[in-house]
């Protein structure tokens, strides 16, 4: 007998990312990294996850992108639960990790060929995707350079390109512009906005408030493993009466140093 989804379930299926009551506790830590974390990101949204060091941003992105499971709670990506079809979800999502996830001894192109083939791409399709990704991050002319000889900005851009190889419907970015020059950051911003306009759902973590304000259609502020505030940057500023996101962020998370 065919079962029909309830209106609530049907609504949940429309979210690109849905996290319900996620809890994650690491060994030998006093408090959980994620503590009843809830998140809903609609298809086509550009969602920014902001938070101080140790707030749980990277853990949230790792669980949402399927790197490891939560201790409890549910993750649905495009309406599919991760535990049920992990490879199907991985096939339609892309991850750009905080660290440079590239082989130094290989060239830019060799790196992309390797990761592209692991996505199951081959032949002309793979070559076209590589060409498109290199063009997107302005590295076409440097495709034959070993990664070890690239600048920090070039590595960051190539790191992004590797996450775009499978033309993902959902893109997870963990501080993709950390430690690079203004030119590279500007290029990455432009390309991410373009990808979002073309329909890619983006979940983005950053420490740069102005970056989040410029790029994201909605932001969520995470602290101590919980989402403490979320909404569009304009609405959040209007509600709080703060001048900018940084003031709001400090107001919500406090001025005390977190990594001492």
């Amino acid at each position: 007998m065919k079962t029909t989804a309830s209106p609530v379930e049907e609504q949940e299926l429309n979210y690109a990312i849905m996290a319900r009551s996620l809890v994650k506790r690491y060994k030998n830590t006093a408090s959980p990294a994620l503590n009843n974390f809830n998140l809903r990101v609609q298809k086509g949204e550009f969602f920014g996850l902001l938070g101080p060091n140790g707030a749980g941003k990277t853990t949230a992105i790792a669980i949402l992108s399927g790197l490891f499971p939560p201790d409890s709670g549910t993750v649905l990506i495009m309406g599919t639960e991760f535990r049920r079809q992990p490879n199907k979800i991985k096939q339609i999502s892309g991850l750009v990790p905080q660290d440079i996830a590239l082989y130094d001894q290989l060239t830019a192109r060799e790196n992309l060929v390797f990761f592209g083939r692991l996505y199951g791409l081959s032949g002309q399709k793979l070559q076209d995707r590589i060409a498109r990704c290199l063009e997107l991050v302005a590295l076409t002319e440097h495709a034959a350079r070993p990664v070890s000889t690239c600048s920090g900005g070039m590595k960051r851009r190539l790191n992004l390109a590797a996450g775009l190889l499978n033309d993902p419907q959902i893109l997870f970015l963990d501080e993709p512009t950390a430690g690079i020059d203004a030119q590279s950051r500007h290029l990455i911003h432009e390309q991410l906005s373009e990808l979002n306009r073309s329909g890619t759902t983006i979940l983005y973590t950053t420490h740069y408030m102005e970056e989040a304000q410029e790029l994201c259609s909605r932001v969520g502020i995470i602290d101590s493993g919980r989402l403490v505030k979320q909404g569009s940057p304009e609405k959040l500023l209007e509600q709080s009466g703060k001048r900018n996101l940084e003031d709001l962020f400090l107001h919500l998370t406090g001025k005390q140093l977190r990594d001492t």
Partner: protein, 430 residues
């Protein structure tokens, strides 16, 4: 399947770019096999597994020296006559002490004459030793290289004593035969009625009635070689080099884990087992090349540097199976090291230490039978011992494939166990 080949191709590309790593993987075992084999070749000389060179100085120039040389030459000894112009015993002793020869023998002047006199005197009534002589004993002087093993020294001493006793016994029988013939003639017994068995009594009595039969030599299968350092060292050091690939494998995994690469790989629609399989495939290729290189060195280079050539048995498929299973075990261990260690320093130190220890207790450096009993028991836990025993079964004992199945099984279980643990660790480390 394409993803496995992709992972394997990436590993080979990374290895190709790491020239220093490649040199270590191939040059290290190649140098070791040449050096250790040359060293052990000398050890074999010192232990008598090769022909021993005996320097012979015959100052007597009589029958005794000739007979002694004849008897010794029948054994495993190469008799080298000392320069006749240079009769100096001190120089001869120096040549032996310096290790140019393992043994030096001097038959002093007048020995044959004294020997004849002493033999005749034994049959005289009231035979007594001559006054002023050092008894009836006629000395044959012998020097040994101080570096030769006690076993070889004892063996040569026994061989010399046996030769001297045989010469003495023959002389005594000849003297007795002569005396009996004289006695019969004096008693007037015609030669046809004499109870003596005719001429050549000493030769007849000297004929051996009992013999030791070395059935192993006669039953050695064709295509196999007796124990020699080449047959021991070529497979042994090839195995050592193969197991050393565990360190670069662990290094490659740790590089991925320490950078963001492992995170990216985990986010891709591939399992860790697939990535492990790619690495295994690439490094099995490396191990095969290592064995081929060491085998070629053994077969073609060794004869040019005075060593016997390495010979592969009649069962090349069996040899290939041993190489494959040993490679699997080495790769499994490398992957396990890469997953259990946190840094490359840890992996390289732990990897090098465990591989050297496993090689030492496994019989790569010293044959297992030469170890103390405790170490012999311990050797059975070393994967290098399993591989080496399988090689010995095929290459030296000439056994067929079924004889090595137990060792191949152990290597396969070791591989499966390390991969299973690595897979579990990969899940935990996510």
């Amino acid at each position: 399947m394409m993803k496995i080949f992709t992972a394997a191709a990436k590993e080979l590309l990374l290895l190709q770019r790491d020239r220093a790593g490649l040199l270590v993987l191939f040059i290290m075992p190649a140098i070791l096999v040449v050096v250790i084999t040359l060293v052990q070749e000398n050890v074999m000389e010192l232990t008598g597994q090769k022909t021993t060179r005996v320097l012979f100085l015959d100052q007597d120039k009589g029958e005794l020296g000739v007979s002694l040389q004849k008897y010794l030459a029948n054994g495993h000894l190469e008799i080298v006559a000392w320069d006749k112009k240079q009769k100096d015993i001190a120089a001869m002793r120096a040549a032996v002490t310096n290790g140019d020869y393992q043994v030096g023998i001097v038959v002093p002047a007048g020995s044959s004459a004294r020997f004849h006199r002493e033999t005749a005197r034994l049959l005289q009534k009231n035979a007594r030793r001559e006054k002023g002589s050092s008894g009836a004993l006629i000395p044959v002087r012998v020097f040994f290289d101080p570096g030769i093993m006690p076993g070889l020294r004892s063996g040569i001493t026994a061989q010399l004593q046996m030769a001297l006793q045989t010469i003495a016994m023959e002389a005594k029988i000849e003297a007795l035969e002569r005396m009996l013939k004289g006695l019969m003639a004096r008693l007037g017994v015609p030669p046809e009625f004499t109870p003596l068995p005719g001429p050549g009594l000493s030769r007849r009595l000297g004929q051996p009635l009992l013999t030791l039969e070395n059935s192993q030599v006669s039953s050695r299968p064709t295509g196999t070689s007796p124990y020699n350092p080449v047959q021991q060292n070529v497979p042994a050091w090839a195995l050592f080099g193969m197991f050393f690939t565990a360190i670069p494998i662990a290094g490659a995994i740790l590089q991925e884990r320490k950078s963001g690469i492992w995170i990216r790989l985990t986010s891709l629609p591939v399992s860790p087992l697939l990535l492990f399989t790619g690495k295994i495939l690439a490094y099995i290729g490396v191990c095969l090349c290592q064995f081929l290189l060491i085998g070629l060195i053994g077969s073609f280079l060794f004869p040019h540097i005075g060593l016997p050539a390495f010979t592969v048995s009649r069962n090349p498929a069996g040899v290939l199976l041993i190489v494959l299973f040993s490679s699997l075990a080495a790769c499994g261990y490398g992957i396990f090291l890469g997953m259990i260690c946190s840094t490359y320093e840890q992996a390289s130190t732990l990897g090098a230490t465990t591989v050297v220890a496993a090689a030492a207790i496994g019989g790569v450096m010293v044959p297992v039978y030469a170890m103390p009993r405790v170490m012999q028991r311990l050797s059975t836990i070393s994967p290098l011992n399993w591989g080496l025993t399988a090689f010995h079964d095929l290459l030296m004992r000439g056994n067929a494939l079924p004889a090595i199945l137990d060792d191949l099984g152990r290597l396969a279980i070791f591989f499966l166990l390390t991969i299973l643990l690595s897979w579990k660790l990969a899940q935990i480390r996510r």
